[in-house]
């Protein structure tokens, strides 16, 4: 329960979603996502292939409508050519149906490429996150990683349909459409298309502005929810200081900040979309005016005019979507950059090439002149020059002030971090030269602050060995003095605990954590200050229950309470990352050094030495 003792690593900000980081984009990521999309060549090809007829049908409709108007007008009042009309109507219907079908195929194939890509990426991200070492997770905010895995993934997923396919669609639609109009009538075509550049520009600017401000808004809303969340979680402090006015003032500041930006964003959106609409209608007005004159002068037919007008309405939406397309590229670029940064992150702690499984024979743990410095700490070593050997059945106690390097040392043995000096061996095999999985199998740590999974107690206990017998679960729970407590729960071993389940007290969590570690049957068992919240009586019962268990392995115990350690075969006293005293309890007391001082400090209330209580008073 002590402080995080490592030097605070500089937080990895590369995965953060901020407007500032968002502006750094790379083209590389877009190219890479594009390549990845073609891992599904059939679906991608189908999406592109269907786009062409979908656009052509779309463009055919105004032409057919114009034809319909013209042929209607051409018919004499007394001889209606019903057949011709029906033929045109059927063509129109066929074009509409085909447009719908091809659009369906195009969209579905495009989205399925995205989903397939997302599926692969999700697995890769998950894999990567579980393989990246502790040092990576120390410096990376978990919330940032979650957004990479959720929001950035989404950005990449949408890329194929909203960026690539839409590019083809819009290019075809606008260029073929423009060519058709301009070749029919140059002047009128120019009028009809006059809104396109303006709308495309406004739409792109708008989308990019909205994207940037959206990220800023999210940051502001993040501040607001932090104010609310901290207030609710700390409501007792707030009440105790009668500080609700103070809190409301904080809320109002954060809230106003977000609200102002939110209003601004609405303004940007409204002004741009209205301007685009106005430009579109203005162009239509021009077509109507000049086209009307041409019709009156007999230069073009009414049908042609109708074609122009219909074509404009068809073009209106896609042109506005140009902004979405631009946005999709920008989004894919930033999301992809973050995502690939994660996927390309080197896994510093991994199996050496050709690594074999660790073979535990004697079960001897040896540390040879071990030293370690956190990557962020430069040369300042958290532990150095540590050597000791522990044989099967031995218990080693480790003691020291907060920050002395106890936890750091314990994290080196299961290879959570790699030593920067010296070596750790188990039965003569350097742990860096055997497979990581076998090391983790052989070395188990009961962590200081144990993470509980939101699932049943039995699933939590059996986490390391999910296919185990029911009886073993009970057995380890009994050893950890958890069994009686579990029996008192409404659903006993099926009770869900963790974040969204029954909340356990610190002591209960630690006992559960002990139980689940016992499950692993390791060669080296480490208690990393993991009994701090367990009362002395229960702790000694756990110790008693583990007496036999400990015979088959090396046990390392880090603790503050001397009572937890004094029975150890050897006690190491750490100071500034070095062993400054070592020996048995008696030897250390005889030494009259730091250990003795600490012993005296705890003495006046130490439970295991009742006869001294009077003196201490």
């Amino acid at each position: 329960m002590t402080a995080p003792q490592q030097p605070a690593a500089p937080a990895e900000r590369a995965f953060r979603r901020t407007a500032e980081i968002d502006s750094r984009q790379g083209v590389g990521a877009v190219a890479r996502i594009t390549r990845m999309c073609f891992r599904y060549p059939w679906r991608a090809g189908l999406a592109f292939a269907a786009t062409v007829p979908a656009v052509l049908m779309q463009l055919a409709i105004p032409v057919i409508l114009g034809r319909a108007v013209d042929s209607t007008l051409a018919m004499g009042g007394d001889s209606p050519d019903v057949r011709a009309l029906v033929l045109i109507a059927l063509t129109l219907l066929a074009a509409s149906v085909l447009r719908g079908l091809f659009t369906l195929v195009q969209n579905y194939a495009a989205e399925s490429v995205g989903h397939a890509l997302a599926q692969d990426m999700r697995n890769a991200i998950y894999d990567k996150i579980l393989r990246l070492p502790f040092s990576f997770h120390d410096r990376t905010h978990s919330g940032d990683l979650i957004t990479v895995g959720m929001l950035d993934l989404e950005g990449v997923r949408m890329y194929f349909s909203t960026a690539l396919v839409r590019t083809l669609l819009l290019t075809l639609l606008i260029s073929v459409g423009a060519w058709m109009l301009l070749s029919t009538n140059l002047v009128l075509g120019l009028f009809a298309l006059s809104f396109v550049p303006f709308a495309a520009w406004r739409s792109s600017v708008m989308r990019l502005t909205l994207r940037r401000t959206w990220l800023i808004l999210q940051e502001k809303l993040g501040v607001l929810s932090q104010v609310m969340e901290e207030n609710l979680a700390g409501i007792r402090v707030v009440r105790a200081f009668a500080a609700s006015d103070h809190e409301l003032a904080k809320f109002d500041v954060a809230s106003k900040d977000a609200l102002d930006l939110s209003h601004q964003r609405i303004d940007v959106r409204v002004r741009n979309t209205s301007a685009m609409t106005l430009a579109f209608f203005a162009a239509m007005g021009l077509v109507l005016l000049f086209g009307g004159r041409m019709v009156a002068a007999g230069e073009i037919t009414v049908g042609t005019l109708a074609t122009f007008l219909t074509f404009m309405t068809i073009l209106q939406m896609p042109v506005r979507q140009l902004g979405l397309m631009v946005n999709a590229y920008a989004r894919a670029s930033t999301c992809g950059t973050r995502l690939f940064q994660l996927l390309d992150m080197p896994v510093e702690i991994d199996d050496a090439p050709g690594a074999k499984e660790l073979e535990v024979t004697e079960g001897t743990l040896r540390l040879d002149n071990v030293g370690f410095a956190y990557p962020a700490a430069g040369d300042r070593r958290a532990v150095s020059g540590i050597s000791f050997e522990a044989k099967r059945g031995e218990t080693i106690g480790i003691l020291g002030a907060p920050g002395a390097g106890k936890t750091t040392l314990m994290h080196l043995i299961p290879r959570f971090y790699d030593v920067t000096e010296g070596a750790i061996t188990i039965d003569g095999q350097d742990i860096r030269e055997v497979t990581l999985a076998s090391v983790r199998q052989a070395v188990a740590v009961v962590q200081q602050d144990s993470f509980l999974f939101t699932t049943t107690i039995e699933n939590n206990i059996a986490y390391a060995a999910p296919f185990t017998e029911e009886g073993r679960i009970r057995g380890v729970a009994e050893s950890a003095q958890l069994h009686d407590y579990v029996l008192g729960l409404p659903q006993q071993y099926r009770t869900v605990v963790g974040e969204r389940g029954v909340s356990l007290s610190g002591g209960q969590r630690q006992r559960l954590s002990i139980a689940r570690t016992l499950m692993m049957e390791p060669a080296v068992l480490i208690f990393d200050d993991s009994t701090a919240a367990i009362d002395a009586g229960t702790e000694s019962r756990i110790r008693g229950a583990l007496r036999d268990y400990a015979k088959d392995r090396v046990t390392l115990i880090v603790a503050h309470r001397l009572a937890s350690l004094k029975h150890a075969d050897r006690i190491l006293f750490l100071e500034d990352g070095r062993v400054v005293e070592q020996g048995t309890h008696e030897e250390l007391l005889a030494l009259g050094g730091r250990y003795t001082a600490l012993h005296d400090l705890q003495m006046h209330r130490d439970t295991d030495v009742p006869d001294q209580t009077e003196d201490a008073r």
């Binding site: 009309l85 697995n123 998950y126 978990s142 979650i146 500080a243 006046h604």
Partner: protein, 630 residues
């Protein structure tokens, strides 16, 4: 790139149970998303928040109607232009006149759109922030027992998610007015232009509506399934990220990857299905539009030929048909939006309706500096649930300047007692007096200033060290803050931090040790400079060094103040002037250490057990006590 595929996890056992133990993530129990589409009570409550903006609502509705009208006019003007302005021999000015009208219409359209969207958008945001503020400020006053019972996460999702779906509702509601107007307008104009052709064309409308509604029920199930699968997968990812150290330490990475891949596969299939359903509507709408247009071409064409209508009317029809679907789509969507909004609104009103049971009496007076620092319990009986009192007829008095330790096993009512001094709850019987006055007769605000409280778990806020120590004591200068920090022995480590007092504490001070956080919370109480200090001593086993520091700080903190301490440490207990021993809600002993030892009661028994702290009692004992107390 992992290509594990959807293979089954290795499982040596045939029977089901052990297999079920291998899971990643958890099935999230989500709150109900859809409610009834209309709930009068909820709507009335929401209207309370909208009504300050009534004027804006009317403006927005008026603007949306004008907007719709101008939209309707445009095809009409085109049709008139074709039929009147372009015929050979038409006066030259006529076309210009019509185009001028057209310009007017688009001008009106532009302004109406601008007004409507801006007013609606900003008004909806304002309402959203108002609702959120109201809820937040309400939560500052509701009883603590409600807050204890309710998860912060759940409240936050109400303050955020639910408020957001209200926003969606408010925005789209006004849009819906426009959609309905547009649909009615289109139908009306068509009928007016030519009712027979209109009837023919409008035949597709009910079909379109029907198909859309049928589709919606099916599609919604698929969308929900995709959403659910997605959030389960994301939940498993979040679990992996938060629990990565545990997963690695226990060697579960390969198995978890396999299990996760199963979840991912399920999400993939659900999303594909949802996509398919979303897209299937496109050819249906296109076909129906095609049928309507074909009808106009044949029937309308014949009518034009026979001279019954003019060609411009036919063009107008073709334009209107292409506008059919948009309002129908948004209207059918509106149904889901309303259901979502009602479910959210219901949850919002639940929070807003939580009763505030501790309020200032109408004639409440402030406790002032002239009031002393005494605390007295007179025959206090109290239970969170009145049927199960946790304090029974407890009386004791702490004189101004005295230091009293409250001692007793877990569940004896110690924490409840200190909550009562602060009037977090009201007693059922008896009286709690502070400074000689009944806590119910003074203002809560002044009570808060009279009493400083240090809780067991130090709680810090995101912000600088300076802000955290000063907290709500606005009157304290920087020098006061530094003085307090120095007094409790925190100055040194604060100065050693990169920014000194301006260092920002991330995530509630997770970059500090427990001891350091404790010292900061002491400093905060010292700055508040109250006459009475109420302290719930930390139970956690802290290392001996830190503990000594904290004891020193505590001495400094209690200097010259009335102190009421829930004590766990023998050192603290022995330093108290008097000890009050509680058991199962009753005061059973009172006196100083020697007197209580002589009494040979619970205190001496606890003391003789010789545990390092009173909370180090074997948990078996305390569990039983807890069971008895609750």
């Amino acid at each position: 790139m992992s290509q594990t595929g959807a293979s089954e996890p290795r499982d040596p056992h045939e029977d089901e149970r052990p297999r079920m133990r291998a899971v990643v993530g958890s099935t999230r129990i989500e709150e109900e998303i859809f409610g009834r589409a209309f709930d009068g009570r909820v709507v009335r409550r929401i209207w309370e928040f909208v009504s300050p903006y009534r004027r804006k609502v009317w403006i927005a509705v008026a603007a949306v109607l004008v907007f719709t009208l101008s939209q309707l006019t445009i095809p009409l003007l085109i049709s008139v232009a074709i039929d009147r302005g372009m015929v050979p021999g038409a006066p030259n000015g006529l076309l210009i006149g019509i185009v001028a009208l057209f310009a007017l219409a688009i001008g009106v359209n532009y302004i109406a759109a601008l007004v409507q969207e801006r007013v609606t958008g900003q008004m909806a945001e304002d309402v959203l922030f108002d609702i959120r503020r109201k809820m937040f400020s309400h939560l500052q006053r509701v009883s603590l027992s409600f807050m204890d019972k309710t998860e912060v996460g759940r409240l936050m999702s109400r303050l955020q998610g639910d408020v957001n779906s209200m926003l969606e509702f408010l925005e789209t509601s006004i849009q819906s007015v426009g959609d309905i107007a547009l649909l009615i307008g289109i139908v009306a104009v068509m009928l007016w232009l030519d009712w027979q052709l209109a009837v023919l064309v409008l035949l597709v409308l009910p079909v379109l509506f029907g198909v859309r509604v049928l589709w919606l029920t099916k599609a919604r199930a698929a969308f929900m399934a995709a959403h659910e699968a997605n959030s389960v997968t994301n939940g498993a990812l979040a679990e992996a990220i938060h629990g990565v150290r545990a997963v690695q330490a226990m060697g579960r990475a390969p198995l978890n990857a396999e299990l996760y891949s199963g979840l991912v596969g399920r999400t993939y299939r659900a999303q594909l299905r949802a996509s398919k359903l979303a897209q299937i509507m496109i050819p249906i709408v296109d076909s129906l539009t095609g049928i309507a247009m074909a009808t106009v071409v044949v029937a309308g064409g014949l009518m034009v030929v026979s001279g019954r209508i003019e060609v411009g009317v036919m063009v107008a029809f073709l334009f209107y048909i292409q506008r059919f679907f948009d309002p129908i789509r948004s209207l059918t969507m509106q149904y889901s939006v309303m259901q979502r909004a009602m479910a959210s609104g219901h949850r919002l009103t639940e929070v807003l309706d939580v009763e505030v049971d501790v309020t200032d009496a109408p004639d409440a007076v402030p406790l002032g500096p002239e009031d002393d620092g005494s605390v007295e319990f007179r025959g206090v009986t109290f239970g969170y649930d009145p049927k199960h009192p946790v304090l029974k007829d407890v009386s004791f008095r702490v004189a101004s300047g005295e230091r009293v330790a409250l001692v007793g096993p877990t569940g004896s009512g110690k924490s409840s007692s200190i909550s009562l001094i602060h009037r977090f709850y009201d007693v059922q019987e008896g009286t709690v007096l502070v400074g000689g006055r009944d806590v119910r007769s003074v203002t809560q605000e002044s009570l808060g200033r009279h009493i400083a409280m240090v809780l067991q778990e130090p709680y810090l806020f995101t912000g600088t060290v300076m802000e955290n120590i000063r907290y709500s004591s606005h009157w304290a200068s920087d020098a006061d803050v530094i003085e307090a920090a120095t007094a409790v022995g925190a100055h040194e480590f604060i100065e050693a931090m990169p920014g000194g007092y301006a260092t920002r504490l991330e995530e509630r001070g997770s970059n500090l040790s427990l001891g350091q956080r404790q010292l900061l919370s002491f400093a905060r109480a010292l700055v508040a400079d109250a006459k009475i200090l109420v302290l719930d001593e930390a139970t956690a086993n802290i290392d001996s060094y830190t503990e000594r520091q904290i004891q020193k700080a505590l001495e400094r903190l209690l200097e010259g103040r009335t102190g009421l301490v829930i004590a766990h440490r023998l050192a603290t207990i022995r330093n108290a002037d008097r000890i009050v021993v509680l058991q199962q809600g009753r005061k059973i002993e009172e006196g100083d250490h020697d007197a209580l030892m002589a009494q040979k009661g619970l205190y001496s028994k606890l003391y003789d057990l010789n545990y390092a702290s009173f909370d180090d009692l074997p948990e078996a004992v305390t569990d039983a006590d807890r069971a008895a107390a609750t």
